[in-house]
């Protein structure tokens, strides 16, 4: 279990380490800069300092996990996880602040096509139905083998790898993860559609839709594996590491796609970005805009639909006690 946790934390650390590469060339630590700024002394220095902090914290977290006494492993795992995330956020913010003086305002005209041609979804949008098929297949398999499901089975494991919560062979206990998986997948689909129709037409838009569908598959497969685990006896480490099988290629592909020089960055006004992370522009009708602190899109928080979507996520999370055993 220590090694699995270490692998996951190092993976998270590598992701954080690679953060400066996971954005457009015109952005560095969410600061809009000239495209060649990364190669400048100031740009290289900022990247080096950010990564130094991450390497130190991840190495300390991995060391603590490997050396911690068994009785403190749970606490150590929680602290290590929080430390890596906090180090990433603080170090990012530090470099963001340090580069503020190098910020430029993207300035280019925007265009609108005066055509009523429908804004069709790309051909691959139908793939969004796949995760629901996977979850339904898992439900069918469980239904057909109901009698073989143990009367009581573990559903939660501690940092030491030992089960610490159990469920019984009931509708809620058996199908709960599938219901919750379907809820989360439905939410991702709604977000993907809102992102498509609520953002400006650009080459990044289909990339983001594809990314959302891939994440939906990751979640669908994860919850299907969790649901069938009592019956199939899938090792916990397989379930814990399964998201990486989709996440790693997804991040590589998206980073490459987003780095291609298709079109300049969307010229959202700098003054509408709070800490260069939150976009609030009441004069922009877009619901989603290209984010500055990484890959993808972010809400325009001045659009009331952004709050409705966040509320819907809160409802999905609030449903956990009712759906999961």
């Amino acid at each position: 279990m220590r090694l699995i946790l270490c692998t996951i934390y190092i993976f998270i650390g590598v992701l954080v380490f690679a953060t400066p590469n996971m954005s457009r060339r015109e952005l560095l630590f969410a600061v809009p800069v000239p495209p060649d700024f990364r190669q400048s002394r100031a740009g290289q220095h900022a990247i080096r300092m950010f990564r130094l902090v991450i390497v130190i914290v991840v190495a300390a977290a991995a060391g603590a996990l490997l050396l911690s006494p068994a009785r403190l492993l749970g606490v150590t795992a929680a602290v290590a996880q929080i430390a890596i995330v906090l180090a990433g956020v603080i170090s990012f913010r530090w470099q963001n602040h340090a580069l503020a003086s190098a910020a430029v305002q993207f300035a280019r005209p925007r265009e609108a096509e005066m055509s009523v041609a429908p804004d069709n979804l790309p051909w691959f949008a139908w793939l969004a139905g796949g995760p629901f098929v996977i979850l339904s297949a898992a439900a069918t398999w469980l239904y057909l083998h109901w009698d073989r499901i143990p009367a009581r089975f573990p559903v939660h494991f501690g940092a030491d790898g030992q089960p610490n919560r159990w469920a019984e062979r009931t509708i809620k206990g058996v199908y709960g993860p599938l219901f919750f998986g379907a809820e989360i997948c439905a939410w991702v689909v709604i977000m993907a559609l809102a992102g498509w129709f609520g953002s400006r037409r650009s080459h990044s838009r289909p990339v983001m839709l594809g990314g959302a569908i891939a994440i939906e598959y990751m979640l669908g497969i994860l919850f299907a594996l969790i649901a069938v685990q009592p019956l199939a006896g899938i090792p916990i480490w397989v379930i814990m590491l399964s998201p990486m099988a989709i996440l790693i290629p997804l991040i590589i592909v998206m980073t490459r796609k987003m780095s291609e020089p298709w079109e300049p960055m969307d010229p959202t006004p700098n003054e509408c970005w709070k800490a260069n992370v939150f976009y609030y522009n009441p004069n922009d009708a877009a619901l989603f805009v290209e984010k500055r602190d990484g890959l993808g899109y972010t809400f325009n928080f001045a659009n009331r639909w952004s709050w409705a979507l966040l509320l819907s996520l809160a409802l999905v999370i609030a449903s956990v006690p009712f759906v999961l055993a």
């Binding site: 300035a107 609108a112 096509e113 005066m114 953002s199 400006r200 004069n283 922009d284 009708a285």
Partner: protein, 138 residues
């Protein structure tokens, strides 16, 4: 496939937030160019206010106001719930002398603005000559 769809050339309007000119005026001016040049002909439906506002990064009301101004000029018919449609328009009759005065006044203003922005007089003269040729042909 997407590129083909995305790059399909249909009439476009553009606005430049850095120009200092109000967005509503830029939209009206851009659309009027398309209407005068018959790139948008009578019977054409314009895209929804929402779609245009999202693409241009402006408020819905800005596009709605631009559509209203063009409707007041007689270019568009705004039917509630059915969008904006280009309609045939007859140019108002204005006395030649008054029209020439107005034209001269506007051109002088535009030339002064361009010179103030650093555009050379040679470039302005060249563009005006090219424009004169286009206008004469149409």
């Amino acid at each position: 496939m997407y590129t083909k769809h995305f790059m399909a050339q249909s009439p476009r309007i553009r606005i430049d937030a850095a120009s200092g000119i109000p967005a509503v005026r830029q939209i009206v001016d851009s659309l009027r160019v398309l209407l005068v040049e018959s790139q948008l002909i009578p019977g054409t439906m314009l895209p929804s206010v929402r779609r245009v506002a999202v693409e241009l990064g402006v408020h819905f009301n800005t596009v709605a106001e631009a559509y209203r101004q063009l409707a007041a000029e007689g270019w568009l018919d705004l039917k509630h719930g059915r969008g904006a449609m280009v309609v045939p328009r007859v140019a108002p009759v204005v006395a030649n002398e008054a029209r020439n005065d107005d034209l001269r006044h506007r051109l002088r203003g535009l030339v002064a603005q361009l010179r103030a922005e650093g555009v050379s007089t040679a470039s302005i003269a060249e563009e005006l000559r090219a424009m004169a040729k286009v206008v004469t042909r149409s």
